[in-house]
Structure formats: structure tokens, C-alpha cells
Homo-oligomer: 540 residues x 2
Amino acid sequence: MRIGVAQINSTVGDLEGNLSLAIDAYDQLVGQGTDLIVYPELFLSGYPPRDLLNKEKFLDDIDCQLQKFAQLTGPTPALIGFPEKSQGTKPATFNSAAWCMEGKVIQVFRKRLLPTYDVFDETRYFSSGECSLFIEYKEKKLAITICEDLWIMSDPRYTTNPLDEISSHKPDLLINLSASPWYLGKEQKRIDLLQNVARQASCPLIYVNSVGGNDELIFDGLSISMDATGKLVEISKAFEECIEIHDLEDSSDKDTISILNQKESLRKALVLGLRDYTMKSGFSKGLVGLSGGIDSAVTAALAVEALGSQNVIGVSLPSSISSEHSKDDAQELAEHLGIEFHTLPIQSIVDAAAHELSPLFKDFPPDVTEENIQARSRGLLLMAISNKFGALLLTTGNKSELAVGYCTLYGDMCGGLAVISDVPKTQVFSLARHINHEKVVIPTNTIDKPPSAELRPDQKDSDSLPDYEVLDAILQSYVEESRSISSIIESGFEEELVRKVVRLVDLNEYKRNQAAPGLKTTPLAFGVGRRIPIVQKYPN
Amino acid sequence: MRIGVAQINSTVGDLEGNLSLAIDAYDQLVGQGTDLIVYPELFLSGYPPRDLLNKEKFLDDIDCQLQKFAQLTGPTPALIGFPEKSQGTKPATFNSAAWCMEGKVIQVFRKRLLPTYDVFDETRYFSSGECSLFIEYKEKKLAITICEDLWIMSDPRYTTNPLDEISSHKPDLLINLSASPWYLGKEQKRIDLLQNVARQASCPLIYVNSVGGNDELIFDGLSISMDATGKLVEISKAFEECIEIHDLEDSSDKDTISILNQKESLRKALVLGLRDYTMKSGFSKGLVGLSGGIDSAVTAALAVEALGSQNVIGVSLPSSISSEHSKDDAQELAEHLGIEFHTLPIQSIVDAAAHELSPLFKDFPPDVTEENIQARSRGLLLMAISNKFGALLLTTGNKSELAVGYCTLYGDMCGGLAVISDVPKTQVFSLARHINHEKVVIPTNTIDKPPSAELRPDQKDSDSLPDYEVLDAILQSYVEESRSISSIIESGFEEELVRKVVRLVDLNEYKRNQAAPGLKTTPLAFGVGRRIPIVQKYPN
């Protein structure tokens, strides 16, 4: 069979836009000659629609779009994901796929396994489907599944395994509509899983995934077809729309199929997430405060890739503490990137604030308060520029500093999107080098100098934080793997240090609670997928 | 039977503290002569523990605390809520209650119905219990349920109804351990429900609820006992700890049992939520920016009630636009409240920012940018005071303005807790009058003058917003009831106005995403219970 893969970028809630994309893809694929066209999970609503699903009219409007779509289909069937209003169940919605053909919705398939962990809240919204997984088409038996239905592998989370039922029916083709959020390394994990699935079901498999960014989530596409032995037949591009045919009879050798290396994958993911967040929220311009440091440099470089150099504004905001090299590095970066660049000193604002506060503060020594005033003066100016010119302020903090609270709320945390807030500092370095691998975009000095927040004279990150290699390893254990202090110490880290890092992570929940949404790049990002109480006293 | 009600205030994650409270209550109630002592749902962990439940060691530590508690019990049994680590299920936890007596855990009961809507994410954490609901004690058959188990009333959300099984077993007493978050009007709703439950089960009922604030949630206590006809036997105080006996054989006439009026309920709820958020997060002092307006006045008055006048700092931050009456009203409020009061003019900061920005802004007319600079200058100073003196900054925005974005991110939205962010403006007025009902605390002028943000000369809220009566009615329909534009217009509101309000609500999702946690007082608060995508294009 020749399967039309509609790996296209939907926008949450944009019912007209998504329908229009669906129709264009249908026409295009029919023109190329195809037996069946498959779209991603919940394509018509965009994924994740979240509490929009609680609006009854939203579901009615989706149904209307689905009928419009079905009416335009001809003899070539299309299988498209949509949230289906249900009667008599609560939640009153199914996560469904409609088989549309000859102007009608012929059959509807409903997702059975509803992920409710990490970023997923599907039992909040959906009831579990119980209807048939099968349809006969062109004398072949097709099994239709939606995302999680195949991600089971004897997970005790679920009491049923659709794959058992599918295997026993010996289908000729297994289809999966997916909206599988990307994180670093997920591509290979997903391919391995699907290969096991194909082998267990003993039939070829076609997997069509969403592509694009919606809020924190990045969908990588990378739709896959494989034969019954798990041998890859075709793989669509990652991080791009792909409207193309996967020919399951194509037996040419695909040994050359490969996925991107991790650094390139990370770069492309962030660029896609940044572009989609910006564009889908109606901005065309991005704004970055350039400190001369590596985080803002990487953020600005990604913004230029996502939005174009003409659409990125860089602003250097030196204080009396800022070193010459910081200002030079910021300017050099802006020149390399070819972006609009401004320098706005903050000292007069810092001084005015200090003057107003002096009657209150006169008997108190300087402390973190004064550091924060600098960061907040920068935030104030950047937000003013953002407001005046309608440019989305991009926050530049990385995961390591957000984890331990090495950042100022309402200061450097100001912004609409936290581009690299799920990228640990050690990875920021390797990403910077990767961005520079063809030509130097990020000044070498920015990468090579010791990281510093420059909120005190001669301050260095290493004054208050351990080496980032060590910090990131502890954070990975504590934040992503939910390991206990004692278990982390057993891995060979110094007890005092582990306790300090854990304490900082816990203490700074309140800052992260008010952080800008950040693009998810790891299995466990701060944000929607991690829900720690703000006020809590568990010591580890 | 004489039931000991342990309506006590636990703190999320404070395993030692919660255990200690549990033991104190046990000893105290045993001393009063009781047949059985009942604690709230998930008492040992605090509610809601959220992703702390993903830490294996957390569950191990809870088990350890439970064993310690059980060891201290004597012949009087205690029924206490705790998250129970499970083997072989995923999620690997049950929401359980342990029957402890004579030094041992005798039997464990597991919650069957797991709410996963609004603020609840219980299927994320818990597996549904399947074990017995019954225990024999003193020749009586007791049925044990946990919160949602009784909140069903033919809700198609659940396929089983524990109450059916309970009714068929004809128990002598039905017990419910609860952590039921409060909102305005919930008291009566809950009593009505429990009366129906008692009648359906044809047996007396004892309901023990949590009390206290944890993050956004306020638990009101108000533990209830009633006879088999639903007649109230005893009701514990609202918004306070209560360690007392409910004597189910007490047949004295309880016609005098009454619940608080709604205004008083709202006041007490906010005071409790504010106090617990502040104290449990380790602060003892609160800080409020006093504009002379009603929102900050109400917030400051609640803060004084919660923390004591000696622990509240009020700061007036006038600009050149601020009216004399604003400054006077702020000062008068501070005098009435007897709090530390400072005046810090912001104009020099605003001027410094304008000066630095002038090269960039010289060809652009003033707009919302300049208004935001004022709000952000205030935020900068307030956060400096918060940092320097370790006082928790309380945000003063109400629900109406947060809904339509009539507030400045990183400006007046700065703060650790949004005290009245779930109180619509019309309710803020009635709350202010209620606070003043015995003596004038909030200056009369503050209540009577037309609301104004004073970010432009002679600005009034009514310049850009409809009357708050109308606005709040539209917001109630749109935000809390998820009604569509057309349905709201059908209720008699002007189409253009409805569309404007809805557009503003949708547009400002990004601001609310970075807002401070706010105390929940309505059935649907912004925050954990409302999960709208930030970037989305659904038009209503």
C-alpha cells in the first residue's frame, strides 16, 4: 500500500486553519496517488487542547469541521484525529480518529489507553474507547490505534493491552496516529518501541506523528513506516512538515535511513519550538537581552534561525559592574548575527532605586537585594522595549540555574518564552559549539570565559555553585529521576553538596511557578510535567 | 458512639510535624473518652502532595511515620489518611486510610473514586482501591470511605458507586475521611450531599475534613456528623482546628447548628489561606503595596488579621500621576491597621527609565509601555523591600482584572501570593464593607471612589472596562461556566462587549501563566484548576 503521510503543523484551537491544512494535504497526496491518507492524533483541534475540551461549543465546532472535511473526501480514505464529543460518558469526550471517505465519516476509532503522567492529563479529558480497532479496506484488514495504545509493553498502568487484541486478529497493517512530544533521545526510543510492536503484531506498521510547537511541547514528526520484521521502510523528516507517500511495498534498501545526531536534533527542536511559540501567538519579532554570556548568545542565535536576523533585537544592558568583555562580546555576537542592537545602561535606574530605598536600607549591608535590583532594572527596560515594539522577550535562563534558583524573578526571568530553560548548562556549552561548527557565530570568548552573572564585581558562577558537570549530574538524579539524597550520595557525590543542591531546588519552586513557559527537551522538564507543591516541607 | 474528630492542619511534606500533630490529637481525644478517632484524608503527607508522590523515598518515609503512629495507639482505634505505596500497580500508590490500634495497623482502606478534574489529578498518582470498605468494631459494622467515594450521585464519570455496595451491607456507621477544598457556597452543597448519602445508606455518618491552607487550596474543616435521616448531630467549626468529640447518640436538638454567612466565610477562608501560605513557607511578615484603592486595602486588612499588625508592612509608591486622595487613603488605612508604613516615590525611577529609553522611543507616542514602567518601578521597589526584610510580598489584584489582563506582569503582579485573585471585584467591594461592619478599617473614600489604576492622569477603570457588575457577570459565564459567546449574548449582554471581554480573557492567558499562586474561593479559579493553552486560536 501507498500511505499518504500528512505530517503537518496544526495550531491548538485554530479550527479553520487546521481544517484548511488538512484539506490541502489531502488534495496534494491524492494527486500523488495514494491508497490512504493518515493525519496525526487530535489534528483538527491541535494538541494539547487542554481545558478547551471543557467547552461544549468547542467540541461542537470540531464536529462541524470534521463533517466539512469528510464532505471533501473522495474515494481515497483519510484517517484524521479529533476530539469526539460523546454522550453518556464523563469525561464527555473521546480521543478519536475518523475514517472519512466519499463525503462521509465511515467509522470512528477511539483511543483506549489514556496517558496521565508527565505532561499528559488525558483522563482529565477523555473517556477510554471500547469500540473496534479494525476496518476492512481493499481486502486488507487494518488495525487503527492512537499514540499511547502502542506505548504499553506490559506497563502495569493499564489493565488492557490493545496490542494483544490486535495480534490475535492478524491485521495486514497497523496504523498509529500520534502526538508524541519530543525530548532528546526520544527518536531512537520510539523506533525501538515501534519495531517491537511490528514484530509482536507480525504486520507492517505506519506511524504518523505531529510536528510543530504548542506551548511547552515540541513535536518532531519523524513519521515512520516499517515492515512486519521491524525493518524501516520510510522515515519522514524531523522538525519539518512532510506531506509525502510511504510506499510499504518499496523494498529498496533503506540502510541509509538515519536520524539526526543529538546536538542537531536539539538545535532544530528549539528553533521549531521558538518559531512556533512566537508565530502562533501572533508575534513576528523576538527580543533578547545580551549579557555577553553563553545563555543569551545561544538564545539569540536560535532566535535568528527561527525568526530571521531582521526580526531579532539584541539589547546590552550594562551596569557599572559589567566587564568590558561582556559588552564587547554582546556587540560582537550581534554583529555576527546581523541583528538590530542597542545598548541601554541601567545604572541610572539602579541609582534611582537605591536613592529611594536609602531611608529604609541605610542600616543594612548590601546583599542579594541589590543584585536583584540590577536584574530587575534590566527586566524593566527589556519589557518596555517588548511593549513598545511588539517584540516577544525571550528569557535566556538554562535548566541548571532555574533548578537552583540562580536567577531573579521579575528580572532575568522576564519574558514570554524560556527558550533553553530545559537545557542544562553543560548542554548549553555543547550546543554553542555545535552552532559554531561551520562558522563562528557565538564569540569564542563567550564560550571560553568562566560563566558569571556579573551582579557583583568579579562574581563567578563557581563562587556559589559547583562545577556545572557536577551540578548537572546531581540535578539529573534529583529532578529527572526523582532519586533521594542518600541514593545520590551513594553514586559518589559529596553529601554536603548534594544536600545544598537539593535544598536549593526545593526552595526555588516558587520562582519556577512564575517562570515563563519553557520548551521541553528532556524526559522531565520544569513546567506542566512536574508538579511539586510550592509550600512543602519534605526535606528531600 | 463517641467519635473523636481530629480536624487538624497538616502541612504538605512535613512528615514529622504531621505525625506529631496526629499523636497530640490522639492523646487529647483519648483523654476525653472516645470510641474511635478519625483524621482527614492523606493527613500524614498533607494534601495535595502532588509530585512528591513520585518520589519512592517519600512513600517509604510516610510508611515509617504510619508505623510510628500505629505503635503509639492503644485500645482506642484511629483511622488516619496516608498515601500508601503499592506493589504491582501503576500508579504505585493508593489513597488510603489505616485503622490503627493496639500498636498495629489492623486494616487498610483504599479510595476507589479518584477525582481528575478541576484542581484534582488523582489518577496521575493513585490506583483505584478494590479492597473491603468494612470493618467490625464493638459489634458494629463500619463502612470506611475517602472523600470522592461519596461524591458520586450517579455521576457517569465513574462506573462503580461505593455507596451502592455500602447500602446493601447495611452498616451501622458510615465514615468519610476528606480533604475537600473550600469555595464560596461549598458548605451547604456538601451538607446537602452528605444528607442524601446518609439517607441512601440508612445509617449515621461522620465526615472529617482537613482544615488549613496548602498553596492555592483552603480546607475549611467543618467536620459533620448526622443521623440516618440526615439530621445534623454535630458540626465542627469552620476554618479552625477542632479536636473534639462528636457524640452520635446525642439526641439534643441541634436546630441551632448554622454555618457562617458567605461574607464571613470568605473573610475567614482568605485569612486562613494567607496565614498558612505565609507561615508554612517560613515567612512571618507580609508586605503590601498600598495604592489607596480597594484591592490593596482589603489585602492589607486580611494580612493584618492573618499575621498581626506588627507583621505587616504597607508601602505607598506614588508617582507624579497619583492623586492626593490616593496617598491620603493609603496612609489612613495604614493608621487604621496600625502597621508599619512607608512612602517611596517612584518618579525618579520612571524618569531614569524614560531617559535611558528615549533614544529608542523618541519617535513613538506614549502608550501602555509607559503605564507598565510605572507599575514595574513599583514592583522593583516592593521586591527590594521584600528581599531586604524577608517579608512576603502579597499581590493585590482581584479576579476581574486578572481575567481581562488589567494588570502589569512583573509590575503589580509581583508577589508570592495573590490573596484575592479569585475574588471578583464586585465581591471585593462587599468584602470591604463586611470588614468595616464593626468599625471603619478601610477608609470610606477607598470604597466609595471610582476605581482607578492611576497609570494615566484622571484614568478610571470604567474608561476601558465595563461596569464591574456587568463584567463580573460575563466573566462568571465565560470563565467559570465555560459558556460560549452566543450563549452569553442570549442571556442579555451586548454582543460587542461580550466579544471584547472574551477576547481579553483569552489574550491574557500568558499573564496568568506567570501569576503568583492565588487562593481558590470559587468553583473555578485561575491556576491549577484551569488549564487553558497559552498559545491557542479558538475564538471563543
